[in-house]
Symmetry: C2
Subunit: 379 residues, 2 copies
């Protein structure tokens, strides 16, 4: 798909409306789209063995440059053979640029036109990220999809602030792409910014399209705005992104966000929601979101979902999960994270199959109806 | 082995010195001895899936009556089908009596001749344990080996205190056995007390032997005394326990404790050490105990033990484990707990095979030599 990377390709096999299903081929393996990437923040998808993540059907996971550059350090990961060798995840890995978490996690950050200087939230040490250094770190990690450094503003922000950050991100997009150079089997994605201002979103998308990236992300959403605003921005951007390139909506989202975004042409997602919720007593299911801390589950011998293929959702009673969550047992986090990632991957597989069969509209309606009906009645 | 329980038996297949190997058959399955029982405090062996525990070769696990009676409650577990159904552990389960943890964990406890009244460490609620109620709770949990309620004194204590507690424990042994009655496929064990006073240990063992229990535990050790005192007490007690009945050393211990105790005739063990250490960055191995927090592992691509059959010990670099421990990642606890339980089970399997082959003395010497050599040299 990219002249310099003949070994990277994106094939779209079927479409229904704006939704599409296909395969993104990278040197390390194929990613079936629409795809949900479990988040492996610091070299581990929290509370999961790496083999489990693979067995759930995840083709690609995400690593966080900010966390990994601070601990254990990009050069150290490189010396140990890269992030795949380090974590034993054999499939493709996408890494973010680090910019988003510099803004959300670090202390004393200072942005300039060349990059950002910040202090580590772990030990207060000083670090600097520039577009070139971010690409270098991601290359040291041996990432398969590298993200450009960008500046992501929180919403609401003033149009002037949003435009300034969007223009800076475009400059950094060019610098990132240049720094990436030619890396066989790997890809770099540009990131559309522009907040909730349609004209800025369009300008960003068009400018990035002119730079001819192998893939495009939509950034700066799910940062506090209502879902309707997020979906409107996707609709605004979609016609201006090259139709034959993958589209990745960063940091999104709920199961409903995923279905609605796929129906608007998004191909890839990442989000901490299923893993984080799993560590806080919450299960995602075809019955909606279930709070295992709730007393209604304390004596319930039924599983989360007897029809699930995930042993954690099918074989353990709600009463047991309730007990583990109440007792703050690690196994509770392990089982609920497993349940949630299984549900997310099943949802993506369901969308892929439905689009391929021309039944996505029905699938979407059926899934949303089941959520609306809610959980099975209490005993 | 017990007239009232023809479906419970203990067969000794081979002996070497005082060490022996055999099989304890219970209604729910066979326990190969010497056996190490992983501790499943609150209905879960912490940070492990139940299938993993089974696959490591554990035939039996331990549950803590104190924790389970407080949360989720014995009657609730019974209503949910018992502890096996609740936790999905299909093999035998031994439960302790609750007495030890009442003394170590609860607040405001008051002991009398009939039992002990205490306040929960979780919510301050009042509870009472008597010999009869302890057996009732363990029966509600559907435990396969029920332990008598006893009073365990910390060491050092005065001989008078030790004797008083030992006599009380003998009285409670009789009451516990009467309360147990006849339970097909299940067993109740009496507990030898007597602190570090040989004459009291002998008196306790003889009185319990006269009561004809299906099995005997040695309690009140590993409570602060040196290893030499513990081993001396085992040697003191051993000739007075029925040779054809299983002997269980409670709450022990380090790998060296296990080898030394097996060589003195002990058949069963439980201890939180491998699981707790795994949650604190420590690995047990044939090279001894390894502290993964140590900086020497930070850049070490080698696994804990390349010859181990445990994937966690064999496939992950020390550098990765070091990183996970430093970052306080749940996966670090999962992998290290797995490594430690695998090592403990391998050690027990090694002892069983060595005794069966008449090579236990050599096995013991070889294992201890390897520990003495210590870890592989740093890179």
């Amino acid at each position: 798909m990219h002249a310099a990377n003949p070994d990277v390709s994106f094939e779209i096999h079927a479409r229904e409306g704006a939704a599409r299903t296909g395969v993104l081929k990278l040197g390390r393996g194929a990613v079936r789209t629409p795809a949900f990437m479990p988040v492996g923040t610091a070299g581990t998808v929290k509370a999961m063995y790496v083999d489990q993540v693979h067995e759930l059907g995840a083709d690609i996971i995400l690593g966080n440059t900010y966390h990994l550059m601070l601990r254990p350090g990009a050069e150290r990961v490189a010396a140990l053979g890269g992030l795949h060798e380090f974590s034993r995840w054999q499939g493709p890995i996408l890494t973010d640029s680090g910019g988003f978490q510099v803004m959300s996690l670090s202390s004393l950050r200072k942005l300039d036109k060349d990059g950002v200087t910040f202090k580590s939230h772990i030990d207060g040490s000083s670090h600097r990220l520039t577009p070139e250094r971010s690409v270098e770190i991601q290359t040291l990690l041996d990432s398969d999809i590298i993200m450009q450094l960008d500046e992501c503003v929180r919403l609401p922000s003033t149009p002037a602030d949003i435009e300034r950050a969007m223009r800076l991100s475009l400059d950094w997009a060019e610098r990132s792409k240049r720094a990436f150079g030619v890396q066989p089997g790997k890809a770099i994605f540009g990131i559309v910014q522009g907040g909730d201002v349609p004209a800025l979103r369009v300008a960003s998308a068009q400018a990035l399209a002119d730079m001819d990236f192998p893939g495009y992300a939509i950034g700066g959403l799910a940062v506090g705005e209502p879902q309707a605003v997020m979906l409107a921005m996707i609709e605004t951007v979609e016609p201006h992104l090259p139709a034959q390139k993958p589209r990745y909506l960063m940091g999104v989202g709920t199961p409903d966000d995923l279905i609605e975004s796929v129906s608007r042409g998004v191909d890839m997602f990442d989000c901490v929601m299923p893993t984080r919720a799993g560590r806080h007593g919450l299960a995602y299911s075809r019955f909606g979101k279930i709070n295992l801390k709730n007393a209604r589950h304390a004596q319930d011998p039924r599983p989360i979902d007897e029809a699930s293929a995930c042993p954690a959702a099918r074989d353990y009673s709600r009463a047991y999960l309730h007990h583990l969550v109440r007792a703050n047992e690690i196994l509770g986090m392990m089982l609920l994270t497993w349940i949630n990632l299984a549900y997310y991957q099943d949802l993506m597989a369901g969308m892929r199959a439905a689009i391929a069969a021309g039944g996505f509209a029905d699938f979407r309606a059926g899934v949303k109806e089941a959520w609306a009906r809610g959980d099975i009645p209490a005993l």
